[in-house]
């Protein structure tokens, strides 16, 4: 957590600070997960939490993802605000059943609120191989009743997390573990909640729109700066929330630029790019000068070895050149 002397904070510190802020202010809010206590979580997001909040609120779970997610459902129905931390997003597969069948549809079936946050570090670039590098958002985007939040900046991380904790619905909060210690922001985190379901135009431009989220935001901005040297003006839209999807902001941007590329780290087939491209064509077809292009991971599992992983996950030259190609076509 940031100390008073610090003038900047990381994406990871923003998440830790938001958790502490809510733990301080709401006794109904608790955190359960594998090794979140004495160990401080696999990435040390909750370092020091056990000492500060005690074992009543910071709970080391047995290795039981199904049991934990189901426990959260029962606790939420009994009036608490549970947060489940999954060590790696890859392990959420073990809790697929309670998330889909117990948690996601309970409100629609009964009218009872199900305020749960399921937090998980996801994504590649850490050379962690096919079962520690997955992007899970589209597995769950298909399920009615879930909200899916994927912050891309240290500035957004705390506000989106606080909004997720205070939401009366189940929220899946995917943290890009590559960004944890690589991103920083000035000052200290703001605890003002950021409305879920609202995209953010992080860079304005007039020639082409890049729709992206999570780590893709930084790749898109870097490409935009590179292309600006050639006189190509790129607008970057950070979705922030995958579901609900803010197609209004995306469509407004595309109506302005007439061209669009969707960029994400998950595999291309049936990925968010497919949905967003279809929505753009529904909302802004007559404004488009070119077909919507997708930049995404290859349709393979994520490999371990650096040259192999780099060949699968979108890299900067490919991103820049694809945007240039669509902008100039």
């Amino acid at each position: 957590m940031p100390t008073e002397e610090k003038t900047s904070y990381s994406y990871l510190e923003a998440i830790g600070a938001a958790l502490a802020h809510e733990l301080d202010n709401n006794d109904d809010f608790f955190l359960i997960g594998e090794d979140v206590g004495a160990f401080g979580g696999p990435f040390k997001v909750t370092k020091g939490f056990l000492e500060k909040y005690g074992p009543r609120r910071i709970i080391d779970s047995p290795i039981a993802e199904t049991g934990m997610a189901g426990l959260a459902a029962g606790a939420a129905l009994a009036g608490l605000r549970p947060m489940v931390e999954f060590q790696f997003a890859d392990f959420i597969s073990c809790a697929f059943d309670p998330i889909i069948n117990t948690i996601a549809r309970h409100h629609w079936r009964t009218g009872d609120a199900m305020p749960i946050v399921l937090r998980a570090p996801f994504g590649g670039r850490l050379r962690a191989g096919p079962t520690h590098s997955q992007s899970m958002e589209t597995y769950f985007a298909h399920v009615p009743g879930l909200k899916i939040v994927m912050p891309g900046t240290a500035e957004d991380a705390a506000g989106l997390l606080i909004a997720s904790i205070r939401d009366n619905n189940p929220v899946m909060f995917f943290e890009n573990k590559y960004l944890y210690r690589r991103l920083s922001a000035q000052g200290s985190p703001s605890f003002e909640p950021i409305e879920l379901g609202k995209a953010n135009v992080v860079r304005e431009g007039t020639d082409i729109t890049v729709v992206t989220y999570s780590a893709g935001v930084h790749q898109a901005v870097e490409a935009a700066e590179e292309l600006a040297k050639d006189g190509i003006s790129v607008e970057v839209v950070d979705l922030r929330t995958i579901k609900p999807l803010d197609i209004e902001t995306v469509a407004a941007s595309v109506k302005k630029t007439s061209r669009a590329v969707v960029l994400h780290e998950a595999a291309e087939f049936m990925g968010m790019g497919a949905e967003i491209a279809a929505e753009i064509q529904k909302e802004a077809f007559w404004y488009l000068d070119q077909p919507v292009e997708r930049i995404a991971a290859k349709n393979t599992p994520t490999p371990t070895s650096p040259p192999l992983e780099d060949a699968v996950i979108p890299q900067q030259p490919e991103i820049t050149e694809t945007i240039r190609k669509v902008a100039k076509a």
């Binding site: 189901g70 426990l71 459902a73 029962g74 009994a78 608490l80 059943d97 309670p98 009964t110 009366n168």
Partner: protein, 370 residues
């Protein structure tokens, strides 16, 4: 890279070498494990004595099993009459378990039952026409027709409506028990599943978590000899479900599920222990499934001898006979109670049948809570 070929990793067989299998490891159980083996089996005992029992409770149990049976009878006839959308999951021979369990609970306790627990739901206050409506897709069903059949709990009655993935109610009950402990509330969560459910991760993970956290939960297994078409011997080699408690370091009680008093006693002991901070218990109640898995299933695969043997142990008839013999109720009172229950179930059917179907215009609303 060339396509890799699949190669066998099996070593060449060399019959001249001795077996490398290690000799069996001696099973040394620690003193803690031995001390934790707290298993009681009353399932083969003669019927629990009525002596010294509170007559109010005995009559409450009788009223419960009679109403449950009347409801079951009505649902069987409604299925045959084509009143229901799909099938019906009969609770015949489970009445004593449901009713004994609910009688041992307080109203504030959480009830997370499964499909053969109509008796418990009725006792908790679920209107019978709402349960019928759930099997008919009617607007009066607790989910208003969005979900159906056996998925009919109500949070305002502290009852949970489980999804189809049994025993998905087990982890939920663990969470409710967790919340009670977290807030220092005097509440216990009771979760119920069948013998087949014990093979799933939900069962193991929940009971294990509840044991590790010493949560105020009771996990009941209704052993009715068969899970759809899979008999016990194919479900597990453990033979009994109560002994699984030992592996989680919690107590277990096995009782006769056709004896409502025996079920009440077992559940009361487990619930009292949970309420006083003694942690969870597994209660196994043994009965027989006298109908198919659901009404569309003729259950030809069931050993007729098994059905004949258990057929003599009707939990409602047996209990009624005992109450009359002990002078708790008269034959006339019994006949009146049964007739009143029959009329009550018929009246509920009328309400359910005349209730409107739900309005589809708002189907996209309510996916998210405000």
């Amino acid at each position: 890279m060339a396509t890799r070929k699949r190669t066998s990793t099996a070593p060449e067989k060399d019959s001249t070498k001795p077996s490398t299998l290690a000799p069996p490891v001696e099973k040394n159980l620690s003193a803690e494990v031995l001390a934790a083996l707290d298993i009681t089996d009353t399932s083969m005992n003669p019927p629990a004595s009525l002596e010294g029992r509170d007559h109010e409770l005995l009559k409450k149990l009788y009223d419960g099993v009679v109403k449950a049976r009347a409801f079951e009878d009505r649902m069987h006839s409604m299925y045959r009459a084509g009143d229901l959308l799909g099938s019906y999951y009969s609770g015949n021979w489970h009445e004593a378990i449901s009713v004994g369990t609910m009688a041992a609970m307080e109203e504030r306790d959480y009830y997370c039952p499964l499909h053969r627990d109509v008796g418990g739901h009725l006792m908790r206050g679920m209107p019978p026409e709402q349960i019928m409506g759930s099997f008919m897709g009617k607007s009066i069903a607790p989910t208003g027709g969005r979900d159906g059949t056996l998925h009919y709990g109500r949070l305002d009655l502290n009852t949970y409506n489980p999804p189809s993935h049994i025993p998905a109610n087990y982890p939920v009950a663990t969470g409710m028990a967790f919340a009670a402990k977290y807030r220092g509330e005097d509440r216990v969560a009771v979760a119920i599943c069948g013998d087949g459910s014990t093979s799933r991760a939900d069962f193991h993970e929940s009971v294990n978590i509840a044991g590790a956290m010493q949560l105020p939960a009771v996990f009941q297994v209704q052993n009715n000899q068969i899970a759809m078409g899979t008999k016990l011997s194919m479900q597990t080699n453990s033979g009994s479900f109560v002994i699984k408690a030992a592996a989680y370091g919690i107590p277990g009680i096995k009782c006769d599920g056709t004896d409502v008093i025996a079920v009440y006693d077992a559940m009361k002991e487990a619930i009292d222990r949970a309420r006083s901070g003694g942690g969870p218990t597994i209660v196994e109640a043994v009965t027989m499934r006298m109908h198919g898995h659901a009404e569309h299933d003729g259950a030809e695969y069931v050993d007729p001898a098994l059905k004949e043997e258990w057929g003599k142990r009707d939990p409602v008839e047996l209990y009624e006979k005992r109450l009359i013999e002990a002078g708790v109720i008269s034959e006339e009172e019994a006949a009146e109670t049964r007739e009143a229950a029959r009329k009550w179930a018929i009246a509920a059917r009328k309400i359910a049948i005349t209730a409107p179907m739900p309005d589809p215009t708002n189907i996209e609303e309510g996916v998210y809570a405000d």
